[in-house]
Amino acid sequence: MTKTILVGCGAGFANDRPDAALRLAQDLAQRSGKRYIMLELLAERTLAEAQLRKRLDPQAGYSARLFDFLEPMLDVCIEAGIPIITNGGAANPRAAAQRLRQTLAGRFPALKIACVLGDDLLEETPPRYERWLSSEPLEHPVSVNVYTGADGIAQALAEGAGIVLCGRVADPSLAVGAIRHGLGWSADDWQKMAVATTAGHLLECCTQVTGGYFAHPGMKDVPDPANLGCPIAEIHQDGRLIIGKTRNCGGRVSEQTVKEQLLYEVHDPRRYLTPDVVLDLGQARVQDLGDDRVEISGLLGHPRPDTLKGLAGVRGLWFGEAEISYAGPGAVARAALAREILLQRFDQLAPGVQPWIDLSGVASLFNDQGGRYLQQQLTQAPALEDVRVRIGLTHTDRRLVEALLAEVESLYTNGPAGGGGVRRHLAETVTTRSFLLPRDEIHTTLEWY
């Protein structure tokens, strides 16, 4: 019998469900063999936001919800010997490690907490990132990070880490590091890295492979969708890969759920670039083994790229939204008139600033900046009697955005009859820019707590 390890994923983004992560930990604690849990808590812009928190408070800057996930599962995982690997260290893995020690309050003194560092290029003195941003230079970036691979994680686990806190790392690498440790796979065994990266890719969005973001009543039904079980990858020494899920929870793992996630955010499926391997899904096969277990085979790997991806976050753009509704007879006509009034007002007050305008009910999600889709739909609009007008705009001038949002509220006294329910929202938005840099310029290091 070949050796088998289990890697579960308890979070696919920062606002995922901590109770599902705890049920995953409890399930894994009852199984045998080497087991690991990964928590993926960083989106593209989350890291810039974490850097801003760290500027205000040097003890902040890790994922705001890291401890919502960690605290309930800590004892279960430590007692069962299940390492937890997360990118929830975000902009400040050291502060996360220190808080973790405080949380443990002297318990589990033998637990080794590792911080994987080296992804934060803003921290370097002197900073090197400018040489890799080939085009126009960046004005005051709030974050500059490189997507590191699995090397630091694999090393931390090899040196006995029970908790591995990373900042920016490619999402699948959270699993690849665990699998390299658990099965002793070599980082340059490209076929094995293809299997490990596919496991990580299928796990990284958590329940998106176990029936989340999937249900379509009558076409694709999901049992107990309010209590989806987290995914668990079974990886065998011989390269077999099976995706399952937490027992006694809702959700399902089927050919369909696995296929949707296998190609999620993939462009060329024969050349999926990751820091650990270039993954080729061209020959991939998916087979339902029953009982919420699906096997993925035919995975091919090519040597990992010589470059890594960097991501810089820049402040200074304001995103505003405002809405007003019209209901009852003539709702569409009144909402359409409100839109025309707003367009005219914007043209007078801020020539050149074009708002995005939706008429929710007629066109919103599929609409566009120019309102082309909305125009198309208005020519065939059914007799809707509850329509919400929404404007969205971005600009570097906060006061201008505020003034233009007020124009929606001014429709209370100046607009078509019977408008109600105005809401306004204004927030600074971080924009990001990606770039490539030579892999051999980046060296991750470990710190222990």
């Binding site: 076409m219 369909q256 999620y264 993939v266 462009h267 899904l281 995005w356 900046q369 082309r372």
Partner: protein, 107 residues
């Protein structure tokens, strides 16, 4: 011509990277894969997304998975960073593809 709605024959999931939209599409019945290969051309998908004005539409075929992966460049109105839309990621756009009307599998 006997037109059908794609959603009755296939399921899909959309993803975003910057201003690039990707949508993976799968027939419910694998027997319909050759029909999709024939009918669901880049030109037809570009037409369905005309109001998003994609600069380029790619189609990747995965016969082992009975899957088609569409990649639409510059289709996300700036993407999650810059879009002023309600769905800045474009996550819901899988259903704009599934809303497509096309000649049915029987001819």
């Amino acid at each position: 011509m006997n037109l059908v709605t794609l959603a009755d024959y296939a399921h899909a999931r959309a993803g975003d990277k910057g201003n690039i939209l990707s949508i993976a599409l799968f027939p419910h019945d694998p027997a319909h894969y050759p029909w999709l290969l024939r009918e669901l051309t880049c030109a037809r998908v570009a037409e369905q997304f005309a109001t998003r004005q994609p600069s380029k539409v790619h189609r990747y075929e995965l016969p082992n998975l009975n899957a088609l992966n569409f990649v639409l460049e510059d289709a996300l109105e700036g993407g999650v960073n810059r879009s002023c839309g309600l769905d800045r990621h474009g996550k819901s756009l899988s259903y704009l593809l599934l809303a497509l009307r096309l000649p049915g599998p029987q001819g």
